[in-house]
Symmetry: C2
Subunit: 407 residues, 2 copies
Amino acid sequence: MVFFMALIVKKFGGTSVADADCIRRVAGIVADDYAEGHDIIVVLSAQGDTTDDLIEKAGELNATPSRRELDMLLATGEQVSIALMAIALEKMGLPVISLSGRQAGIRTNSDHGNARIERIDVERIKNELDRRTIVIVAGFQGVDKFDDPTTLGRGGSDTTAVAVAAVLHADRCQFYKDVEGVLTCDPRKVPGAQKLDEITYDEMMELASLGAQVLHNRSVQMAKRYGVELEVRSSFEPRKRGTIVKEVTNLEKTRISGVAKDTNTARIAIIGLRDEPGIAFKLFRVLSKEKIVVDIILQSIGRDNSKDISFTVAKSDLDAAVTALENQKQALGFEKLDVSDTVAKVSIVGAGMMTASGVATMMFEALYDAKVNINMISTSEIKISVLVHEEEADRAVAAIHRKFFED
Amino acid sequence: MVFFMALIVKKFGGTSVADADCIRRVAGIVADDYAEGHDIIVVLSAQGDTTDDLIEKAGELNATPSRRELDMLLATGEQVSIALMAIALEKMGLPVISLSGRQAGIRTNSDHGNARIERIDVERIKNELDRRTIVIVAGFQGVDKFDDPTTLGRGGSDTTAVAVAAVLHADRCQFYKDVEGVLTCDPRKVPGAQKLDEITYDEMMELASLGAQVLHNRSVQMAKRYGVELEVRSSFEPRKRGTIVKEVTNLEKTRISGVAKDTNTARIAIIGLRDEPGIAFKLFRVLSKEKIVVDIILQSIGRDNSKDISFTVAKSDLDAAVTALENQKQALGFEKLDVSDTVAKVSIVGAGMMTASGVATMMFEALYDAKVNINMISTSEIKISVLVHEEEADRAVAAIHRKFFED
């Protein structure tokens, strides 16, 4: 798509603005697009490791600072980025203004550290754009009803970019990353990884949840809800078309959009559960009470009127899950737990994949050829995941990728 | 004076909050006063060299950034300080909240980089104090009618402290410095320097303008206008009484409050000016057009119906002054300029000094004994200044101090 006089939101992460040279390079990208006649809003993260450095400074004084004060502290990071970017664009003789989350009208609830955007008062941004001013907005932050700075938590700057694009009906929201777009696989692991031209929101979210962390799911979800067209571009090749993320892609054929690996997973097998109604409900209630999210679930018939249930959790939740289950051993009435944290989840993602025959077969064939043993299998509308041994995961990814993309 | 349940504003400079240890020490001082039952407002500067570092970062990108964006950048410095201080006080289990200039209701005009406080909306601070919360306010900053951060320029944090103390009718505004109070002389130069118990606003301002930069004149002026009692204390001996600055001091006898030296001065002598009406006016108009502030002025009769006028300017204005005068040489009709930048101004300051006989005589006697040659003399209600050779200035200060304070 070619835009004439479009409104474009461009988001750059912390490494893209880490120092003066980086900032000048981003300013150049912005200036080029502005020169083509577009209205430009730039959303920035804090420079490099600034946020971590600030958290460390707070930690020296207090291991458990209030989230309100931590937000006061962290909100300065993006304010520095946006002011410096504006100063760099002024140097190029361009009309520009930087706006903190508050000045940009980003109103949130008071859940400090993980605030939700409630509305955006766009008056100020609109006025600036009307004057053909380039608007630089601080990502990751807003202000609550008490007029206190808040931060949006993980993926916050991406969320800011999508939210601003949504309320202003921007023509596109571009994310500049250190990759050329969304790839079919991790390029550090699979040399044949290919850039996708287009991908749907759902596929993007599946890929993200599988460890291919290009865009945070929260922002993709919001983009889907408000129909904001996203584009992932390389900050090193800014003129090159990246990957478009939208509701429906133009490709009609069933396709696989990527292969991903997630090693942040552990498997728990509960052996010898009583086979009675409601036992699964009781079991998973124990875990949800502890806020443990369960991923793949597999149930199998055991011996002697008992059954086994296996499931995966995030590695960081493993100990808590085991403790919670052992505490309820009597109530749940199981024989024993079998735990493994040397597993990895390997998945293929693709829209409409499950309706096409043969995709699962091709995947399992690839794994069989590569002599990778499958522990568990899970499927959804746009994803097939298998649990394999951690040490076999890379081999599994490479084999599947070869089968679908390189053969 | 002993305060029962007073409202105290405490201001700490950048070196007092430079790192975690410093912040903890200040937090201890604040906690002690809070424990005595006082309501406490703390005004802080940015940590250590933060402001200079930020200016340098901007300078890498643009030698002449807009003041608006520079203020966006600089305002982050104090926000970091106040958040960290709040986090340190939280660790001690105390109720505390940090407020940026904007959150504290400090409304200024839009003269970025040198903004004037127009009013303070005290609602938020009052509400917090009512709940017995310690309020930490960012110095040096406010917000203008466009909701953009502004900075107050030189001495800005001191000004914030006095302004907040004024509108809230604080019982005292305490400045913690790296000296034990206002001294009669620079202790690095004169070992016999003594701490003053009390000093008037006017004396304080004269001392400040003479290079004894304890408090910025802008803040002292404001304190005088609104009758805010100031106290200069040592941050190293926080429990020790410092110097009180107020309208009228209790001491009735004529006294000298201090001896000060200012080496940021240069002398210009205009030789052979036509002795005609209005020549002084024309001369100083040339300088005021260039915004050059003239200090001591001396006029003397020259030869042949001409006269000489000598005056001092700040060293940084010397070149501009000489250029401006040379450009108008024809119009002004003088013979030549004689310039010296190796001079220093040495002054004694004291309320009601000029009405007491003998003070000037004592000063000149001290200089005579020390064999210091006097270039120019200037007097005011509370000050006597002499211009001497730069190299003799320290000897002059020591001699005068000995005469008045140590004999």
